[in-house]
Amino acid sequence: MIQVEKLSKRFNNFTALDGISLHIKQGESFALLGPNGAGKTTLVGILSTLLKPSSGRVLIDSVDIAEEPEEAKRRIGVVSHNPYLYDELTAKENLEFFAELYDSEPDINSLLAQVNLDHRARDMVGTFSRGMKQRLSIARAILHDPSILILDEPTSGLDITSRKAFYSLIKNLKSRGKTILLTTHYLDEARLLCDRGVVLNRGKVVRDIDLQASEALELEDIFEGLG
């Protein structure tokens, strides 16, 4: 469950987020859409505790991220366009290292099998393709069994095959009851993975979207309508 209440973030005299409120239920998959500079990255930054909000608050499974950031971090897994992996370490060593930081003892081999990388467990991540790194990044994000998965433009720069492999992994996690928050530029991606979403523009929620509704929805039309 993610509860966002009147969240604002100002940089100097630029307002990136302007009083945003959201409620994402447990097990729901939710899309954040919007043009560049709409505030998606800032919102995700705050939710993943990398940024501090100027005002408002965020509850993750009823844990206030400002009061107990470490507790909140244990409940979140983040997959971003940067895989956050060490090129000089093997796939297995990377996962072992992050497992130590989360004080969890996952079955690394089965994690690697889940993302179809068990055959490359002992290879340096530096030799991996981008698609493979991104899959390993999913394994990194779920090794502490978080209830919430934040996907911040995870497929940017991936080719179509890797993207499909990535989608099926996410669908699998979704079916296991994880709450998913996705930011993306691609409407088809949001439709494929999410039930519901909002469009952000200039730091505000401008539209709620039911992504499973049958109405023909073109993201470009929405963005153009924003002016």
């Binding site: 971090k73 956050y84 060490y86 000089e88 290292f97 992050f98 130590e100 990194r140």
Partner: protein
């Protein structure tokens, strides 16, 4: 402070370094070359050599250390993995402590190789205890690593960071540099035992104060 987390990060950094070895190799080569240059610049039979050599030794470490320092946080910043660390439930202070320990291990490695090399090259006859001289250098290196690691995190988001780092670290270390040179001379020339040198205690307290200050202010460096 979570020792397990600190240890994990140190282990990870050492492992990453052991794969590429770029920093260690550069640091060692630099130490070797600069010791040779200093050696070449001085007359081996001059009585002055005895006086200036302890200073040389200490400066060589500082400049070699500069090479290693700038990498500790910088590399993680450049590859974005520092953000990955921030996503994990590890406190900022623990990241700092881990980097300090990692840098210290590098410095000690260089010290173990360069110290005997110095004695051979300069044909130096240490008047006091060799162990004491080694310990004085170690305390100096601890101070250097504490201030240096903190400041290398501070300059992460600056342009031409390697240059700015040196401009910031050297003045802040001025007291340590001065006190260590005095102590080194006392050990290496006047054969005074380590524990009766007041300067080394002062240097150690300076290092402790800087370390406390660093852990108090580190959160401000990491926040965005």
């Amino acid at each position: 402070m979570n020792f397990k987390h600190i240890l994990s990060v140190v282990k990870k950094d050492l492992r990453v370094e052991s794969r590429g070895k770029e920093t260690v190799n550069f640091m060692f080569l630099f130490t070797f070359i600069s010791l040779l240059m200093f050696n070449f610049a001085t007359d081996p039979f001059s009585p002055v050599l005895n006086d200036v050599a302890p200073g040389f030794l200490w400066f060589v470490f500082i400049f070699a250390g500069m090479l290693g320092l700038s990498r500790a946080f910088l590399k993680e910043k450049e590859t974005g993995t520092l953000q990955g660390l921030s996503l994990a439930p590890i406190s900022n202070d623990d990241i700092l402590y881990a980097k300090i320990i990692y840098n210290l291990i590098l410095m000690l490695g260089i010290q173990i190789i360069a110290f005997p090399l110095f004695i051979v090259l300069f044909n130096y006859n240490i008047a006091g205890s060799t162990l004491d001289a080694f310990l004085v250098l170690t305390i100096g290196n601890v101070g250097f690593v504490v201030v240096g690691s903190f400041m290398s995190a501070l300059v992460m988001s600056a342009r031409s960071r390697e240059l700015v780092l040196q401009i910031i670290v050297l003045p802040l270390l001025l007291p340590v540099i001065i006190l260590i040179i005095i102590s080194l001379r006392k050990v290496m020339i006047d054969a005074i035992p380590l524990l009766s040198i007041g300067e080394i205690k002062l240097a150690a307290s300076y290092v402790v104060i800087m370390a406390v200050l660093a852990s108090l202010l580190f959160d401000y460096i990491m926040e965005e």
